[in-house]
């Protein structure tokens, strides 16, 4: 019954998406013909259709969640991805730890944000709103079709299975509870930005008001993407046991590219909102951001690229997503090519203005995006000529640094500039401060030791940027600084913190690989690590060997660490559970490997791998700060918005009252 309710809800939601699409489009047609006359009676349905659709899609997702919670083995998806002996939390998270379930989550979030847009957004011109909802319905319809026709999550087995085959052990981790849903919300939020951009392009209403409507969606999506990538990076760091935090793997890149596009979009939409400039550029980025999230889905699901993530891939599904990609992105870009020249150019600005700095960084972000895209797709390109290559850090790191370094420099200075026109002389003090910081850090590190060029530059930029992030607050009354500005300061500071972590990790990490027997001690980064014993342990669905490590620093009290090499039995797979000691200035990372024969005395030896990673945690603290900055920015904008709405309402009431008394102005001035 559960599965059937879910399936029916999905079909109904798909039907409502059709209604939403048609109703929105009809609203446009009649208005265009009659020149702003009465709306088509069908036009009314777009908003309610979006809202009811949201409820239905969420219902479908809850049904699947329930089926996983009770391990309903008559449903194929549950039988192939779950197991009755799995811990309850992982039964739930297993709902989206597979292709069908994750696509259902995607669709549910998509419908939910469509419903929210339809229900809450009243600022846009009605025509633009109709066009937006129509596009949103069209996008949703494609994903419903994908789900229902090629990846039905509610498919029944003819005979219920006796036991499920379990979830990939790597995914049996709290990381799965957080990482995919946040990324999905981010991806889907970009679809709303995309629909809004299309709506504005169709009705030629690329205005600051439109930008103000679009901004919270972009910001929201961007916050979730930031958080999702940060969480995913930390998850990979401690779960894979390789000691790395970013591998330039195609699937990681697939999440990074929408983030880069969204970051650029976020800044350009702010320029549009504040200064009415960068109109076509904002629309272009709106399309680009969503196309990157769709491209990510395509690369991940079609299996055209090889990745450590090894999703259940299926070329047929790949074809389906490619068709959707062609339809939406091809369509949007064609519309852009046709319409963009009819959008009037925005306001002008000089080369030394805040707009110019933002444009420069937008271009740099786009260039980094192009570098990542090229690196990710290059193997695909050469494979067409039968050459197999794999592209890794030796390409990505320096190539992206070429654009990232000037970007960070401009990022330090940009917020200090005034809108429209400014002179460097006005911010002389700030400029010299930043330059002095950069030079002193580079020379200091150069004296201390011999390090690679990129980490050294990274450290210097991190320090310079960290200080520069707070300079916009100089000379202002802190209590009166708008919340959104605090958001910017915090996010920029977060970038500096993360950059510091990255540079420090790559410059100062120490690594030690040794075969040790019980009682032996290894030293790394000032820690003494003693292997006390190696014992077998068992969990609910795995067995493991667990090493007991006594770790002490400078002869202090020992802390116990227990890294494990686990063997799951359903499905059979080995994972390595790293153990970490976190200090304020870094992490000790320990992994136990295979048995490594016996030593001279006949004691069993084990492979032990240790890393001391100074300030590595700053990478994720920085990520969290960036996301928090985004949250503050949204809060600030919403606060201003609500205040303005209240003021408008009060003003209108007052005018009403005046008019009633016969004293008011004939036509009320539009409130700002």
């Amino acid at each position: 019954m559960i599965a059937e309710i879910g399936l029916a809800a999905l079909w109904l939601a798909a039907a409502l998406a059709v209604l939403q699409m048609i109703s929105g489009a009809l609203a446009l047609r009649t208005r265009a013909r009659e020149g702003g006359g009465d709306a088509n009676p069908m036009a009314f349905y777009a908003r309610p259709a979006a809202m009811v659709q949201a409820a239905l899609a969420v219902l479908a997702f809850v049904m699947l969640l329930y089926a996983f919670a009770i391990t309903d083995l008559s449903i194929k998806l549950v039988a192939t991805n779950s197991h009755s002996a799995k811990p309850f939390i992982y039964k739930l998270t297993g709902t989206w730890g597979n292709h069908e379930g994750s696509m259902l989550l995607w669709v549910a979030v998509l419908a939910l944000s469509g419903g929210l847009l339809a229900g809450a957004e009243r600022r846009l011109p009605e025509r633009t709103m109709s066009a937006t909802l129509s596009v949103q319905g069209f996008v949703a319809l494609g994903f419903y079709a994908f789900l229902l026709l090629s990846s039905n999550p509610f498919e029944r087995l003819p005979v219920p299975a006796l036991e499920g085959s379990g979830l990939n052990p790597l995914l049996q981790d709290i990381g799965l509870a957080i990482h995919p849903p946040t990324l999905y919300i981010g991806y889907v939020g970009l679809s709303v930005a995309f629909s809004l951009a299309m709506g504005a392009l169709i009705t030629r209403q690329v205005t600051p008001d439109f930008a103000k409507v679009m901004r919270p969606w972009v910001l929201g999506a961007w916050v979730f993407l930031t958080f999702g990538i940060t969480a995913g990076s930390y998850w990979a760091y401690y779960e894979l046991g390789w000691g790395g935090w970013w591998f330039w793997d195609p699937v990681e890149n697939a999440s990074l590219m929408p983030w880069l596009a969204a970051t650029a979009l976020l800044h350009s939409v702010s320029v549009l909102a504040a200064r009415d400039a960068l109109r076509t550029w904002t629309i272009m980025l709106g399309v680009l951001a969503f196309s990157m999230s769709m491209l990510g889905t395509f690369l991940v699901r079609s299996g055209v690229l090889t990745s450590v993530h090894a999703f259940a891939v299926d070329p047929e599904r790949g074809t389906f997503i490619l068709v959707l990609l062609g339809l939406y992105i091809g369509g949007a870009l064609a519309l852009f090519a046709w319409r963009a020249s009819s959008i009037a150019e925005g306001k002008r600005f000089t080369a030394t203005s805040r707009e110019a700095a933002l444009v420069f960084n937008n271009v740099m972000l786009s260039a980094i995006l192009a570098i990542v895209l090229l690196g990710t797709l290059y193997p695909l390109l050469t494979e067409a000529f039968d050459v197999r290559v794999s592209v890794g850090p030796p390409y990505f790191n320096p190539a992206s640094a070429i654009f990232a370094i000037p970007m960070f420099l401009v990022m330090a200075v940009g917020p200090l500039l005034r809108w429209k026109d400014d002179t460097p002389r006005r911010i002389q003090f700030e400029l010299s401060l930043i330059a002095a910081l950069l030079i002193s850090v580079v020379s200091l590190v150069a004296i201390l030791g011999d390090y690679a060029i990129l980490p050294v530059l990274g450290l210097a930029l991190a320090v310079g940027l960290g200080v520069a992030a707070f300079l916009p607050l100089r000379g202002r009354k802190l209590a009166r600084v708008p919340v959104a500005v605090w958001g910017m300061v915090l996010a920029h500071f977060g970038v500096a913190v993360a950059l510091f972590g990255m540079a420090s990790e790559s410059a100062f990490t120490q690594e030690r690989l040794a075969a040790v027997s019980a009682g032996q001690t290894e030293s790394i980064g000032g820690f003494d690590v003693t292997l006390e014993s190696v014992d077998p342990v068992a969990g609910p669905n795995w067995t493991a060997i667990e090493a007991r490590l006594a770790v002490s620093r400078d002869g202090g009290d020992a802390v116990m660490l227990a890294p494990q090499a686990r063997n799951f039995w359903s499905p059979p797979q080995a994972t390595s559970e790293s153990a970490l000691i976190t200090r304020w200035n870094g992490q000790l990372y320990a992994v136990i490997g295979d048995a490594a024969g016996v030593d001279a005395a006949g004691n069993a030896r084990w492979q032990l791998r240790l890393w001391w990673k100074p300030f590595v945690t700053f990478i994720w603290y920085g990520g969290l700060l960036i996301a928090l900055g985004g949250v503050l920015a949204i809060a600030g904008r919403v606060q201003v918005d609500l205040r303005r709405r209240t003021a408008t309402r009060l003003g209108e009431e007052r005018r009403e009252g005046l008019r009633a008394l016969g004293k008011g102005p004939k036509a009320p001035e539009p409130a700002e």
Binding site: T280, M284, V287, L288, S291, F298, S302, G303, V304, P315, G318, T319, L322, L325, G326, I329, G330, L333, A334, F336, A337, A340, S341, L377, L380, L381, E383, A384
Partner: protein, 175 residues
């Protein structure tokens, strides 16, 4: 000019979409081919994998007769699936040299007792040394070695019934 700039994204996208479409239609080859094909076997001498068996060395491949070199292990399930095909090849008169990867003598003996022994020799490769040197990335894999010890052909995965004629043909070519 400006108009043209607006068309660039579309053109780029169409190019990428075309590339994806092309790649989707290509059969996906998941196997890692050895780069050692056409090259002579490296020097090696492996101890017998179980008591009563003959060990394997490079010299065994130099007598002018083409042979099969079968990489397998008692812990490998597809190796059980390919056992009947190896048996059939042995009955055709093919000389098969086995190399047991990361195995224990008692397990090897038990496996051969249960699923048959098509091998003339079985060497023990405890740390995958030979396996890596000849460019094999998994178990089971089967190589055709000609009479001068040169690797001629690589079969990845278990040998199915319809792979037997191909292997016989490759052996024919190598002689």
């Amino acid at each position: 000019m400006k108009r043209l700039a607006y068309i660039v994204p579309l053109a780029l996208f169409l190019f990428l979409a075309g590339l994806f479409a092309f790649q989707l239609t290509q059969p996906k080859d998941e196997f890692v081919k050895s780069t050692m094909i056409g090259k002579p076997l490296p020097n090696f001498a492996l101890d017998p994998a179980a008591p009563g068996l003959a060990g394997a060395s490079r010299a065994d491949f130099m007598n002018g007769e083409p042979k099969l070199l079968n990489i397998w292990a008692s812990w490998c399930v597809p190796c059980i699936a390919e056992a009947p095909q190896l048996e059939a090849l042995a009955e055709e008169g093919v000389d098969i040299v086995g190399v047991a990867i990361r195995d224990r003598p008692e397990d090897v003996a038990r496996f051969l007792e249960r699923y048959g022994n098509p091998y003339s020799r079985v060497g023990a490769d405890e740390i995958s040394e030979l396996q890596l040197e000849i460019g094999s990335s998994g178990v089971p894999e089967t190589f055709v070695i000609d009479g001068k010890g040169v690797i001629r052909y690589q079969h990845i995965g278990d040998i199915r019934a319809d792979d037997v004629p191909t292997l016989l043909e490759e052996l024919e070519k190598a002689s």
